[in-house]
């Protein structure tokens, strides 16, 4: 089953490149800490999901590069081609001459409708190449104009055109200070719209990744490339082939096939009693956790701690909320690695902060004229704020 990656805007394209590069490196790794046969199966599975083979035998990424100005796409295509290890398809990109000016309204209301047909055709041509479609992975930032505005528009369109496909958005959360001044408006508008069409939003916070670079990796002068490579590593460790928990003899067909359904609390039943040895520790309450273990000794790892009821909301049994995949082929030369995908309150504070800042700015009406100029009215802002406050409240009440 194939995953179609849609890289949107400068951020989406820069990160998308790193993701494919990471997966390709990992793919060609002979240091899998497993048997040769095992490695071959892993490689075949990865290729099936993310790459096409063409005549030249250089893997072609199953990706579409979309941007409203040409510089980044040119750079990205070149870098991939120069690597020699993989490349993008010749006709897999769409770009225009003038960007979205960091304006969500411009990305959503102007670029969206104007280029809808061309972009959807491009996507359809790509999808038709595959026997079966696992779903879409859309990489975009929230702070700018194209990734955010056009991203929201496109996700809606994809949902309409492919109602049964899985749509996952890789959403890049901007630095708290110093990227784009209207980033909070753009973020609020993006998230509220994505919530209506996307199946899952996988969030990557620049501030958090920056700290990883600084404190864990000891990088002195951190560049966007460093940040993007960490994000790519994280994504790669989730998307690369894994054994399903049901069937430990073959790789799961659908890399995105996590059961993302959140079961709502059954009304009328008393809250399940929580017995936990860790009563003093306060965790962000989760409604779902997915643990992906790769490498040596993976089957003997003790993951009991993840089943602690203290981690989960009172209306969920840990066995329903926790899932683990163990694969003994190592990822990216790390002898042992673990990745955690979590649906929990961890995002509550960052989300609340962004909504708060956006609301403060909205109260003064600053910059609103830039949006109303392109058809996003104050009403639309209020709708978006309402959606997000509901989400904040829902998570708060876990």
């Amino acid at each position: 089953m194939s995953v179609v990656t849609v890289q949107l805007g400068q951020c989406g394209n820069q990160i998308g490149y790193e993701v494919f590069d990471t997966m390709c490196r990992d793919l060609h790794n002979t240091q899998g800490f497993c048997s040769k046969r095992e490695n071959e199966i892993y490689q075949a599975s990865c290729k099936e999901h993310f790459f096409n083979e063409d005549k030249s035998e250089v893997p072609v990424a199953r990706a579409l590069l979309i941007d409203m100005e040409p510089k980044v796409i040119s750079q990205t295509l070149l870098k991939a081609a120069h690597s020699g290890r993989w490349k993008y398809g010749q006709h897999s990109h769409f770009c225009q001459r003038q960007g979205s000016g960091n304006n969500w309204a411009y990305g959503y209301s102007v670029h969206g409708p104007k280029h809808e047909e061309s972009i959807m055709n491009l996507i359809q041509r790509e999808v038709e190449e595959y026997d079966s479609l696992s779903g879409f992975s859309i990489i975009m930032s929230m702070a700018g104009g194209t990734g955010s505005g056009l991203g929201a528009f496109l996700t809606q369109n994809l949902r309409d055109a492919y109602p049964n496909s899985f749509i996952m958005n890789q959403v890049i959360w901007p630095y708290g200070t110093g990227e784009v001044i209207v980033q909070n408006y753009n973020s609020v508008l993006t998230l509220s719209h994505l919530y209506r069409s996307s199946d899952a939003l996988l969030v990557h916070e620049n501030d958090v990744v920056h700290k990883i670079c600084a404190k864990l990796m000891n990088i002195k002068q951190i560049s966007f490339r460093d940040v993007n490579q960490v994000i790519a590593h994280q994504l790669g460790s989730v998307f690369q082939p894994t054994y399903s928990s049901e069937d430990s003899f073959q790789y799961r067909r659908n890399p995105l096939g996590i059961d993302w359904q959140v079961r709502p609390p059954l009304s009328g039943l008393p809250a399940l009693e929580k017995v936990s040895p860790n009563k003093e520790l306060r965790f962000n309450t989760s409604i779902a956790n997915l643990l992906i273990l790769r490498g040596k000794d993976v089957h003997s790892a003790d993951t009991g701690g993840f089943k602690d009821p203290a981690l989960y909301t009172s209306w969920l049994q840990p066995s329903d909320a926790f899932c683990e995949w163990r694969t003994h082929r190592a990822f990216n030369k790390y002898e042992k690695s673990a990745a955690l995908v979590s649906n929990s309150q961890f995002l509550l504070k960052p989300l609340d902060t962004i909504v708060g800042k956006a609301w403060n700015m909205f109260a003064s009406k600053a910059y609103v004229h830039q949006y109303t100029k392109f058809g996003i009215e104050e009403e639309d802002f209020l709708d978006s704020f309402t959606v997000l406050e509901q989400i904040v409240a829902s998570y708060c009440n876990l």
């Binding site: 400068q10 000016g101 104009g145 200070t177 600084a214 600053a366 910059y367």
Partner: protein, 472 residues
């Protein structure tokens, strides 16, 4: 890739414009070693063959500036056409006259405006037609005289009428207090009304500030201290202005080069690649929170690089600190002690995001930002440094520190207007009435009032707005 067109009006506008074209060519020459007409060049230049037809790709044949040169006197434009840049300009892109505007805004606007409107529209259309995606007009002019001020702002109106979708960035040189043109306050205030109403973004420049910067550099060069030899190429006042060299170099050439550098740095991130691009439309989006408050104070650092490789380069952080110092601003203003509405940092060269973040963290505690934009920073990273430097920073601030400049202007205006001094020169111009004056000063007053309203909020405790109450 989008294109920009420079419209240079009047003596000042054309002199600065000329410096700009010279520097732009120099910059592209140092980056574009293979002589291919690339997207970066395409922004400001056309590529034409010997017959004058445009060539869209391939080797550079002959570069033509996307510019329209307008002056009601011939002197400056003629000098340009006889100088080293004569082949860069298309003779069809010029509009000149002989009589000049007599330092009279009304003559520039009302008389020459209506006389030349059709020609102006035609030249602009031609230049626009050579672009496959025209994004921005850069208008360069001075405020104190007659042509740049009057005809320049008339053209601003024309740009809005004929090309409403294209951004209008205006670089305006404001007169100093000791300006030798007595009526410069009238001209400036009359022009300001037009800037208020028809410009997307204005970068005000004051000659005094440019002069101070030039003096500072000269001091540095002539100090004779060991290790202070400056890399000539790196001077922000690099003086080979593209105009036929005169024996006595006026400081104006050096001053104009600073403004030319400003324009180059402003557009660097849309021309060249980088890890965080910033296009011109993002400047307006991020720095103009309300339509009338579109005046941006600019500062450029570093002003020069030392030639001696054994002296360690001034720390990167010093560059950021300097950008906020009042000595580096291009108008007489002190942004540190006024209120920021928004601030953009356009960084070029070997600088990474962590350097920018570290400096923002470091500096923000000493700066005052308006309550609803406490983190009002916009950043861009362009990989290509300017010629002669390893890195540079252009800071653009939407800050209430412009208010004193405008108040001074208003006061000088009123001093003249109350005595009705020289008013007859204006009122005798057809369709020029007293109401033009009263409306202009009223427009300026209301602008100043807006800045006042913001200033009073400075230092007040910030109240978080009450959030929406949601019932689940």
């Amino acid at each position: 890739m989008a294109q920009s067109v420079v419209v240079q009006v009047g003596q000042c506008g054309n002199q600065i414009g000329c410096c700009f074209w010279d520097l732009a060519l120099r910059e592209h020459a140092s980056v574009n070693k293979k002589g291919i007409y690339d997207d970066a060049l395409k922004n400001f230049f056309r590529n034409v063959d010997t017959r004058g037809t445009g060539i869209s790709k391939g080797r550079i044949c002959s570069l033509k500036a996307r510019a329209v040169l307008i002056d009601m006197e011939e002197g400056v434009v003629n000098e340009i056409l006889q100088g080293p840049l004569k082949d860069v300009f298309d003779s069809k892109q010029l509009i000149t006259n002989v009589s000049g505007s007599g330092n009279n805004w009304a003559v520039g606007y009302k008389v020459f405006g209506s006389q030349y409107r059709d020609q102006i529209v035609e030249k602009l259309r031609q230049t626009a037609e050579h672009c496959d995606c025209l994004q921005c007009f850069f208008l360069i002019h001075s405020m104190g005289g007659g042509t740049g001020s009057g005809l320049g702002t008339f053209i601003l109106n024309v740009l809005e009428d004929e090309f409403p979708e294209v951004y209008r960035f205006v670089t305006s040189v404001f007169p100093s207090g000791e300006d030798d043109v007595i009526t410069s306050p009238y001209n400036s205030v009359l022009a300001m009304k037009e800037l208020n109403e028809h410009a997307d973004c204005v970068l005000p420049i004051e000659n005094e500030s440019l002069f101070d910067i030039v003096s500072k550099i000269n001091q540095m060069i002539n100090s004779g201290k060991p290790g202070t030899t400056v890399k000539q190429q790196s001077l922000v006042t690099l003086n080979e202005g593209g105009i036929k060299k005169k024996l006595d170099e006026k400081p104006f050439d050096k001053m104009n080069n600073i403004v030319a550098n400003l324009l180059l740095n402003l557009t660097s991130s849309s021309r060249f690649e980088g890890s965080l691009n910033m296009d011109l439309n993002e400047i307006s989006m991020n720095l103009v929170p309300f339509p009338q408050l579109h005046y941006l104070v600019s500062s450029l650092t570093p002003l020069y690089t030392l030639a001696d490789v054994n002296i360690p380069p001034r720390r990167l952080d010093q560059m950021f600190s300097d950008a906020f110092s009042k000595d580096y601003q291009l108008i007489q203003a002190d942004p540190k002690h006024s209120l920021y509405l928004a601030c953009a940092l356009l960084v070029r060269g070997n600088v990474q995001i962590s350097d920018i973040r570290r400096n923002i963290e470091r500096l923000k505690s000493s700066l005052h930002f308006v309550s609803w934009n406490q983190e009002g920073w916009k950043t861009s990273l362009c990989s290509v440094p300017p010629v002669g430097h390893s890195h540079s920073l252009l800071a653009l601030a939407n800050n209430t520190c412009v208010k004193p400049t405008f108040m001074e202007l208003k006061n000088r205006f009123l001093r003249l207007y109350k005595k009705k001094a020289h008013l007859h020169h204006y009122l005798q111009v057809d369709r020029m009435e007293d109401s033009c004056f009263t409306e202009a000063v009223s427009s300026l007053s209301s602008l100043i009032e807006k800045y006042n309203e913001l200033d009073v909020t400075k230092g007040l405790p910030i109240h978080e707005q009450v959030r929406l109450n949601i019932v689940i």
